[in-house]
Amino acid sequence: MGQRQTEIIIGFFILIGFAAIAILAVQVSNISESAERETYSVTAHFDNIGGLRVKSPVKMGGVLIGRISDIHLDKKTLSPVVTMAIFSEYDELPTETSASILTAGLLGEQFMSLSPGGDDLFLMDGDRIYDTQSALVIEELIGKFLFNESNDL
């Protein structure tokens, strides 16, 4: 085989390799989403966040509008504070918007669900959502149920 032919085949090989990496990037992983979208952050205080994690989705009406960017415990009130990074294209959320932590399916991942309120003022960067509903913890629910049942007996 001629030298030039070998070189062409090697070039082809390298090209396929990079094409494979490109497939992994575009088709398999979430790089298209993580490509820096403009966001603004909104915080919310909860009693219990259940299994919510950083990078969990924030949805409104089932549509992904942002992701959880930070979770920490307020040092004074000792309640969890969740910071959400919401895509800037959704910048007209009313200030009365309420936040609740829901579970996808019965045992699925937990996510933040926002439902809009009826206000003319919109949430700005750094604002806080006051109307919040904590995560349902199944163990607590079962505990309460068993407790009530035993009271009836």
């Binding site: 090697i10 390799g17 494979a20 990496i21 497939i23 088709q27 398999v28 979430n30 994690r53």
Partner: protein, 260 residues
């Protein structure tokens, strides 16, 4: 008793000396600024190391992906969770199977060939005659093959992963009827570019480094007889397979240990 202690000591010292020679070979081939001629020698080596391993990598990837799709489906469908097939196939391939299986195949296909080639060069005194001509065989023969291995391995592993995922989707979506939109979008939701794909590529780079190092060293260090070459070739495959699996555990705990 004394003989036992003696042989134990000799063996330990031998192992130490081997490790020392391997380290020296690594230093000699790396610690030299690459010149333009080296780049070309490395590029040409990509043919025997990369291109000729392509077929076995692609075919194995296709079948491993297809088997994974089939087995994953039969288990997941019992729980009505066949939409999780995409993440199952993609994560297990991108994180583990892609780098590891590709590296094992690479060790068997390219590593053994490297050892045999360099060993035969040593046995037929080609390396010695190069030295006579004031050409350093480490620079001329070892270093280009070494770098070619490090470049080729991540590319081969990426090709393996991509083909395996396509194989998984062939079985899952086209044959067993998992919804194609759910398959791909659930996969994209679960696979992270940095945590999963990049770490997988880093893994395969590390494997490529060790496999080629072992292969060129075993060839360069072999006993220059036909028996010695065959033993070195066997050692290459055995040692690099063990190294790959042990390193994989180590790298996995480092990379994915804190991901729940």
């Amino acid at each position: 008793m004394i003989k036992l202690a003696q042989s134990l000591g000799t063996r330990t010292l031998d192992t130490m000396a081997t490790a020392g020679r391997a380290g020296r070979l690594l230093m000699q081939s790396i610690l030299r600024l690459p010149r333009f001629k080296d780049v070309y020698l490395t590029y040409v080596q990509l043919y025997s190391i990369g291109v000729q391993s392509l077929l076995i990598i692609a075919v194995s990837g296709l079948f491993i992906g297809m088997v994974l799709g089939l087995q994953g489906y039969t288990t997941l469908v019992k729980f009505g969770a066949e939409s999780a097939l995409g993440p199952l196939v993609a994560l297990s391939i991108v994180r583990e199977l892609g780098p590891v299986v590709a590296a094992l195949l690479f060790a068997g296909r390219a590593g053994s060939a490297l050892t045999a080639e360099i060993g035969l060069m040593k046995a037929t005194e080609q390396l010695a005659s190069m030295e006579m001509m004031a050409v350093n065989p480490v620079h001329r023969i070892i270093a280009p093959r070494f770098f070619a291995g490090i470049i080729a391995m991540p590319l081969l592993a990426a090709i393996f992963s991509a083909i395996a995922i396509i194989g998984g989707s062939l079985v899952g979506v086209n044959w067993l009827g998992v919804d194609s939109g759910g398959f791909w979008s659930a996969m994209q939701g679960a696979v992270d570019w940095e945590n999963d794909v990049i770490n997988g590529i880093i893994k395969s780079g590390v494997f490529g480094f060790f496999v080629t190092w072992i292969a060129v060293f075993r060839g360069y260090d072999c006993v220059p007889t036909s028996e010695g070459i065959s033993r070195s070739t066997t050692q290459t495959v055995v040692h690099s397979s063990l190294a790959i699996l042990a390193l994989d555990f180590l790298l996995t705990t480092l990379m994915f240990g804190d991901i729940v």
